[in-house]
Assembly symmetry: C2
């Protein structure tokens, strides 16, 4: 029997699940919208159980390949017990015993991790970070998720909460963040930041935004990150500038992380990374200008993630499969 | 024969050396002023060789205890080869082959490390960080040095340059730093920052600074960090406020590092840490206000270093002794 694992990536907007094999291939897929944060934790759990059930039933019973574990990658602070979401800036969880709640409803062992840790693991095992001894991942989605893999180990910190790069302050008294602070990096370099800035241009009735407004049929509220990215790819100058602004802030934070960690490679993932070099070239330029000792020291590569939106679920599944093996 | 090692700590203002035993005790001491950065690298090397010579001659030849290695802790970016100082914001070194240059003039093996890495190691082995699985040290001296020890290993990064926390940007377009950038953390939370702010008050002819000015006989240029600290300890309100301002910025940066690394303990060392809780209480207060997820997550302790000014030389010596053993 070949061991499969289900990975579930719970982000600010989507719950994405997949059946993943030992080589990181996604054999089956399922997804739902993330219940709004005003909903109780139960509602999110129901959604997860639904997705797991759908995926389980897609794997033929009695076949040569069976699902042995479920890995959850959650957009929140996961405790060192790998069971509890202690805090989630974009969800309603506070000290949520996610693993135990799900274990009562799912037949195989469950492992919980931070979504960006899971994505970092996937990119190191199967993606853009293969072979890198000191890898940092920066995931630009609703906010910024982060993770790092040093010498083949996910670094989770003393309390399990390492990698919350998005909540490093880059602007004193800056924009208010959902975490309760001000000036967090993710307020300047994330999908939310991109959409907020574009809508801001529209609300200011800037003629710079008129082409973007046409893209969304005159409804600023309908503007999304992917729409801005596709407009930029089609040559819209304003969309290109908006991505460059986000990219510049990305470079500032990456230079800070390079000063602290000195990794060999930064992998930039998450939805916004679909913009590719329209995002990364401005990031690289700012990074090179901000890096202390630049010109005298080796510099990290900044590359786009290879596993796209599926890094989180692939990594969560792979970590669960491996952790089951080492605990069994 | 019992193995001793010499540790040399090369900071922005002092070259401090000591003969250190296996328990981290300093048996002999020697020190010189750091040659000004306008001097050639040779001059710093001559100073190091002088200090080593003085310490060597203090250990009786043919005795039961002999010096087997020299460890250098340098206030600069040390390459992964542990031999080259690739860049030093406060010294004249650029790609300086420090180990080889010294090896020609010193009879025992030499190991080069970053001064704050050495201090982090010393505090983990013998000081305030004993037993901590995830330790971060923040050394406030001329600038800010940093280091971290995870599960008993100094983390040096992919290129050897990890821990340059002082050059993380905390203020966009902020104060110019010696590293060439703007807004670096060490421009707001270091000994230099403390003295600059105090002198600024004096130059602005603020009545708030009149007591401080008396302390230095009317000469603002004679003001030093230790003088400000002792004034604060004697109850001078302005000196207390200046330390609180530095401490507040210290807390901002520590919250950023906690978001990224999630250590269990921060050890604050370096000259400014002599101010103790006058510095650390404001740092703790800001840290608690800035930490994302505060109230829902375990929080790191912020404690003062135990080995004081000698952490760097003790750590450099101990790392050299241990590295000699593992390479021999």
């Amino acid at each position: 029997m070949s061991a499969l694992a289900i990975g579930i990536d719970i982000g600010g907007t989507k719950v994405a699940g997949g059946v993943v094999d030992h080589a990181g291939r996604v054999l089956e897929r399922a997804r739902r919208d993330t219940p709004h944060r005003s909903m109780s934790p139960d509602v999110v759990e129901n959604t997860i159980v639904e997705v797991v059930g759908e995926l389980m039933s897609a794997v033929p019973a009695g076949g040569t390949q069976q699902v042995v574990a479920v890995g959850i990658g959650a957009a929140g602070f996961v405790g060192a017990d790998r069971a509890t979401v202690v805090f989630a800036p974009h969800l309603s969880w506070r000290h949520e015993p996610l693993r135990d709640a799900l274990s009562r409803r799912v037949a195989v062992p469950i492992f919980v991790d931070n979504d960006a840790n899971a994505a970092a693991w996937a990119e190191w095992r199967f993606g853009a970070g293969r072979g890198e001894s000191h890898l940092v991942i920066v995931n630009l989605g609703t906010g910024i998720g982060g993770g790092f893999v040093i010498h083949g180990k996910v670094q989770r910190g003393r309390f399990g909460i390492a990698g919350e790069f998005g909540h490093m302050q880059v602007v004193p008294n800056g924009l208010r963040c959902e975490c309760g602070n001000r000036g967090c990096w993710e307020q300047y370099a994330s999908g939310n930041a991109l959409v907020r800035e574009a809508r801001g241009l529209i609300l200011a009735r800037s003629p710079m935004a008129s082409d973007l407004l046409v893209h969304v049929g005159g409804d600023a509220g309908a503007l999304t990150g992917p729409l801005i990215t596709s407009a930029a790819q089609a040559g819209d100058q304003t969309a290109i500038e908006l991505l460059a602004e986000i990219g510049g802030w990305l470079g500032v934070g990456i230079a800070n992380l390079a000063a602290a960690f000195d990794p060999g490679t930064f992998v930039v993932g998450g939805g916004v990374s679909a913009a590719g070099d329209l995002l990364l070239d401005p990031a690289r330029e700012t990074f090179r200008r901000q890096l202390p000792g630049r010109g005298y020291r080796p510099e990290a590569d900044i590359v786009v993630a290879e596993l796209g939106n599926e890094a989180g679920l692939i990594g969560a599944a792979d970590l669960a499969r491996i952790d089951l093996g080492s605990s069994g």
